[in-house]
Each structure stands twice: as structure tokens, then as C-alpha cells.
Symmetry: C2
Subunit: 313 residues, 2 copies
């Protein structure tokens, strides 16, 4: 409860702060001959491909009469054309004219400039952090029901400072939350990374990291084990991004790499608890070849081995 209060207070501080911030950013709008509401309406018309006046009205939550006048004004100024809908004689859908589009693009220019202005005093990493935080907020606070496609997922295979730590962190946190493996599990992951890093060679081993909104969202790795064998390791997708096909993409990339490197056999170790991952392994052609009861990280579980044979002509 104590925390909840702090939380709400932080959010209110932000709201007051950002009300002011938006006010500053939108000032240039007032310099133009259009009001904030008018600009917002133009935006909605531009983005929502085929909108009617009601669509705008709902998005902007403004009075119908008010909007009607705004739209008429736009029409008068040649920014907008109304196409009567064939299926409904009352409504018509709205479209910006070339002139309207031109106006918007010049406004965008201004707005972009102002945003760059706002960021000038920040370092690149901090700028990125701003965008990331905003994406996170948009992602978390979106109206439930609207779509989740926020930011793009970006997969990379190089190893940058901070990556190792981040990967270990994600493993530790995720398995703790989902399976109640304690800090001992993170220590185990630490060992596996330590072991791998001692012999890591970018030509033979590869790690894929999927980033979304500046945060590690998933990963997978293929480690060469000699004699045409390779181990698949550290496969992981953050729960809030599951069901979007990211896991499949990661596994596909890993498999493509294995084929390209002509590995003859790929194996992996997991436990019976990671059943969702297991389904993906099997879809990729892996077969369960072993299962031994163990007590690990405070849990009784079956350690399972999966194998995949690859053939080349």
C-alpha cells in the first residue's frame, strides 16, 4: 500500500510535468492559424485511412456540432473533401486534399524540429532511453483491446558491452517469476555463460538477441561443440511478447545458421517444466531423447534432452 501511494504520486507528478511539456510543444500550433483541436482532427483524418466525422468525433471526444464546423472550415479552405458513403446517405468519408497533405507535412516538419530541439542536450543513449520509455508507457497504458504492435522487434547477433549481463538478468528474473527458481538458478546461468565465454568464437558460436522498446525481449544461441555437433542454449521469449511468433523466428534463425554451418547434430537440455518451449523445439524437428529425474534449484524436475539430426546431400 505504501508503495502504491508512491506510485500514484509519481504518476501524478509526471502528468503535471507532461501537461506542461505538451503545452510547450504545441505552442507552435497556436502560432499557425489552426487550433490544437483542428490539428488533432487533421491528424486523425490523415492516419485513420477511411474515417467519417463520427470516427473523428469519437477519437477526439469533442462535440459533433463543433466538429461539423471545423470540417466545413477545412473544406472551405480546400484542405479536405467529403466523399458521400454509398452505403449510408447520411455520412461521408473524409480525405485530405493535396493541399491538406502539404499543410500536414509542413506541420510535421515543425513538430519534428521541436522534438529534436527538446532532445538536443541529451546524449544518444539518453535519447534512445526517452523513446524506449515512451514506447513502454504506450505499450503498458494502451486501452485494453487496442492492438499490441508497439515498436519493432529487432534481432541482432553481435555482442556488445552489457549484453552478457542483460541476458543473465533476463534468465534470472524470468525463471524466478515463472517457475520460482531462486537465485541459485541465476548462478547456474552465470556458470553456463562463463563456460561459453571462455571459448566463444563469433564464427562458430552465435547468439541472437531480440530487442523491443530497448529491452531484451527474447534470445537463443547455438554453441559449436566440435565434431559437427552443436548445442542450442538460452532460448527465451519474454512472456508479455509471447504468441507473436517471436520464438518461432528465433528458432528458425538458429536452425538456418546450423544448416549453413553444416552441423550434423543439434542438441539441447531443458526441463519438463518448459513445455511451451518444448512444443517449439518439436515443431522444428527436435526429438526428446532422454529424461532424468533431478532436484535442481529447489524443485523436483525432469531434465530432458532433445536432439535433431541434420542431413546434407
Amino acid at each position: 500500500m505504501e508503495q502504491e501511494i508512491q506510485l500514484v504520486s509519481d504518476i501524478r507528478k509526471f502528468n503535471r510535468f507532461y501537461t506542461r511539456q505538451l503545452g510547450l510543444l504545441q505552442q507552435h500550433v497556436f502560432d499557425s492559424e489552426y487550433s490544437l483541436t483542428e490539428v488533432r482532427a487533421l491528424y486523425e483524418i490523415m492516419f485513420n485511412g477511411q474515417t467519417t466525422a463520427t470516427g473523428i468525433r469519437e477519437a477526439l471526444q469533442i462535440d459533433a456540432g463543433y466538429l461539423s464546423r471545423i470540417l466545413r472550415n477545412f473544406e472551405k479552405k480546400g484542405l479536405l473533401i467529403k466523399h458521400p458513403l454509398p452505403e449510408d446517405g447520411r455520412a461521408s468519408y473524409l480525405q485530405l486534399t493535396a493541399r491538406g497533405k502539404k499543410l500536414m507535412s509542413s506541420m510535421n516538419e515543425l513538430s519534428n524540429h521541436q522534438i529534436r530541439e527538446m532532445l538536443t542536450s541529451l546524449e544518444p543513449a539518453q535519447k534512445q532511453k526517452v523513446a524506449d520509455s515512451m514506447n513502454v508507457l504506450r505499450y503498458l497504458l494502451h486501452a485494453p483491446g487496442s492492438d499490441h504492435t508497439i515498436g519493432q522487434v529487432h534481432i541482432r547477433t553481435d555482442l556488445r558491452p552489457g549484453d552478457i549481463g542483460e541476458m543473465i538478468r533476463l534468465h534470472g528474473q524470468l525463471y524466478a517469476r515463472e517457475y520460482q527458481y531462486g537465485i541459485a538458478f541465476e548462478q547456474y546461468v552465470l556458470e553456463t555463460f562463463q563456460e561459453c565465454m571462455q571459448s566463444y568464437q563469433p564464427e562458430k558460436d552465435r547468439i541472437w538477441q531480440a530487442y523491443c522498446n530497448g529491452e531484451l525481449a527474447g534470445m537463443i544461441a547455438i554453441l559449436s561443440r566440435g565434431r559437427g555437433r552443436a548445442q542450442l542454449r538460452w532460448f527465451l521469449v519474454r512472456p508479455d511478447l509471447r504468441g507473436l511468433g517471436l520464438g518461432k523466428v528465433l528458432i528458425n534463425q538458429a536452425m538456418a545458421f546450423c544448416r549453413q554451418r553444416k552441423f550434423r547434430e543439434v542438441y539441447l537440455l531443458t526441463t519438463h517444466q518448459q513445455d511451451k518451449a518444448a512444443r517449439l523445439y518439436m515443431k522444428a524437428g527436435f526429438v526428446k531423447t532422454g529424461s532424468t529425474a533431478q532436484h535442481l534449484w529447489g524443485h523436483d524436475l525432469y531434465e530432458e534432452k532433445y536432439e535433431l539430426k541434420l542431413h546434407y546431400r
Copy 2:
């Protein structure tokens, strides 16, 4: 440049999103008999202890005449009293009456409720993430010149899932940015953690982690090395939080722990490049006892040893 465009576009998406979000949150205000601007003015009066009309005017960026009328209206309704300033006969400072405060507190109630509402569908960790992201934004986008005291720094000594990874990540990223130590340095840190974790005992070893806005902001550790000796390790303060005394607090806590555990000697290894840290070590009583030239992590540097003897009666 390509990235810059993505960045600006993300920020604009957020701005449009949050304009709407704030609109929704502020709707209750419209239900009340006061306008948004009026409520904002009341807030400013409440928070900025001793404000004059000009103070409000500057904070809210509104017309002086408009504000004058708003304030007169508040006075008429008994929400506000003006105390003429003794040092300036033109201005007077503004204070809410009991009634004004009561009004604000009931509005706060409403607002808090609405924010909780907004968060209901989120898990606790996600709620925290929302607040953290907002604090980060407020911290990064604040008008340059305003004070930096955002969020509190919170130091803890337990080890939770994800902590090890996070500490390694911070080391990797920071030393890469500040000293251009590459991924090899992170591998070295990985080893040190691995070595420590093999024998980690909470009673003898201790790690302090300073968190600010949900992110690791600094750390220090004391590892028992037997026979009354201890090693100080992993001392770090994020650059954007330096100069606030956090480093000193961390070292003080570590030293207090050493005395409590009756260690007779504390040592640490560092390089000549970490000169800011070295100053803090010496302030705490450490003395440089060795310096050997080495080639480490792609750099020619001197590895230095510092020692501190502790005496007990």
C-alpha cells in the same frame, strides 16, 4: 540519421497517445465546476509554498489578465487569500484557505482513484515499470537548470533474481562507455562474479545495490577473504548520478560493515584510470600499496592496489 527518424516518430506517437490519455484523466475536472486551467492554478498555489501571481503565470504560461480574473474568482469563492508582500507593494502572495485545501484534497482523491483505475489491469511489476519510465522521462526531459532530485535512491543488500545479471550489465556498459574497455572486460567481470558466487555467504559477504527509478544506479561489495581480510569490489556509481554523494554513502556503508564484522584489513584492486573512485577510497582511509603496469582489455594501464588497516580496542 535513420535512427533519429525512428526516435522522433516514436516520441510523436507517444505525444499523441498521451494527449488523449491526459484528456481522459482530466475529464473529471470538467465535471467539476472548475476549468482545467483553474485546477492547474490551484495545484501550483498548493505546491509552490510561497507564490505570487507572477509565479503561477510563468509556471502555467497563461495571460496575466486571465489569471488575475481566475484568482479574483477564487477569492470570491473563499478558496484563496492574498497576503500583500511587505517587500513589494504591488505583489501579494497566495495561500489556499482551509476550504481551498479541502477542495484540492477531494480533487486529489478523485485523481488518485482515476490513476489507480488506469493501472488496474496491470501486474505489480508492470505498475512499477510505468512509474519508473515516467520518472526517467521526467528526469531526462526536465528543463535544463531545474533540480535533479528525482525519485529516491534506495539501497538494498539482498540478492534477488536478475540482480547478478544487472550488476554485470552495468559494469560492462559503463566501463565500455567511459574507458572503452570492450566485451573482454565484461567477460572478466563475469569471471569475478562467478568466482564470488561459488563461495557467497550472506553472513560474510555483502553486496549493496543502489536503485533509482527502477534502475541500478550504483553498487559496492565486501567479500570476506579469510584471516580477518576482506576485499572491496565492484564499486560503481552511474555517471548521471555522480556528485550527489551516493558513492560516499556506499563506501560508508561498506566500511561500517567491515568494522561490524571486525575485519582487520580491507584491500581492493583498481586501475589508474578510475581516478574519481580512487579519491573516494583515499578519503575513506585507503592507501595505495602497489602499482603494476599491465595490458588489460585492450589498454595499457596500471593495476593498483589499495589497502586499509582497521584497528579495534
